[in-house]
């Protein structure tokens, strides 16, 4: 068989390196932790709720099959009915730009700065 088949070529390493670097840079840019107060925007289909992250507590909403817990300025999703529990495993999020997604239940939780134009952020 062709020996070239086995080699890791420099151009491969360069392209992979560029993509890797870009992704790491994007993570740092997106996870900016603002100093102001933050809000969690919870959406499930047409249902939409906002929770300020400075109030600790457990929250439930009609039409959303999950519970939300806010603690120390961070929010997490608990007791979701989905089988894979990816949303629960995401754990607490608190920096603006972070989000929790539950695909089977169509739930999204996005953390935004409270003074930001939320409609632009959530799209």
């Amino acid at each position: 068989m062709n020996k070239k088949f086995h080699m890791i070529k420099p151009f491969e390493a360069v392209i992979i390196g560029i993509i890797l670097f870009g992704s790491i840079a994007a993570i740092f840019i997106m996870n900016r932790s603002g100093s102001g107060s933050r809000t969690a925007v919870i959406r499930c289909g047409d249902v939409r709720h906002e929770l300020a992250l400075n109030e600790d507590g457990l929250f439930r909403f009609d039409g959303i099959d999950a519970e939300f817990e806010i603690k120390n300025g961070k929010i997490r999703l608990t007791e979701a009915s989905c089988p894979d529990k990816i949303c629960e495993k995401t754990g607490y999020i608190g920096s603006s730009g972070q989000s929790i997604i539950c695909v089977p239940n169509k739930i999204t939780v996005a953390v935004v700065d409270s003074d930001e134009s939320i409609d632009v952020m959530v799209g």
Binding site: M1, K4, F5, F11, S23, M30, G45, V103, A110
Partner: protein
């Protein structure tokens, strides 16, 4: 290759891909987002390189049908969009790199396949949730695609010599 032999081998490949997929889904990974190593994509890559684009696409879609049976509708949509996009990108890459006679960069093909598998899944997730918030996971999933692509590409390169020794 005789048609009957082709059908038998493709059936084996599909069974192998489905079994590996199921096995992998049973291994709990402490990371969020459903980050996976993508063991079954090794089988898809073998089919792509040895039997061509159409066979690989068929195997990927049928593998997703197995996901539909075991894990339901949303998992199927994520699987099929990731699988189809991944095979499309890998097939295009293979076609271009063969024409340029540089030798095929299997590792890069595998990495691109891993990245676009995750991008396809993200696209399906954003359609499902009706929200573009899902794309905030893009950088993390691109990195996970690179890591899994390097893993599957390396395994693929290790098993490739043995596949050349068979007439399958």
């Amino acid at each position: 290759m005789k048609k009957s032999r082709y059908i038998a081998v493709m059936g084996l490949m599909l069974a192998l891909a489905s079994a590996l997929q199921f096995l992998e889904s049973m291994i709990p990974i402490p990371l969020p987002l459903g980050v996976k190593a993508g063991i079954s994509s090794i089988v898809i890559m073998v089919v792509l390189v040895k039997f061509g684009f159409a066979s690989a696409m068929t195997t990927a879609v049928l593998k997703s049908c197995f996901v539909f049976i075991t894990r339901g509708m949303s998992a199927f949509c994520m699987s099929v969009s990731g699988g189809v996009l991944s095979v499309a990108v890998m097939g295009a890459f293979l076609a271009v790199s063969r024409k340029s006679e540089n030798g095929t960069g299997i590792l890069l093909m595998s990495v691109l396949g891993g990245i676009f598998h995750n991008i396809g899944q993200l696209a399906a997730a954003s359609v499902f949730t009706g929200s573009v918030v899902t794309f905030s996971y893009l950088p993390v999933l691109v990195i996970s695609g690179i890591v899994s692509g390097i893993f599957t590409g390396t395994v693929f390169k290790l098993i490739m010599p043995y596949l050349h020794n068979t007439n399958a």
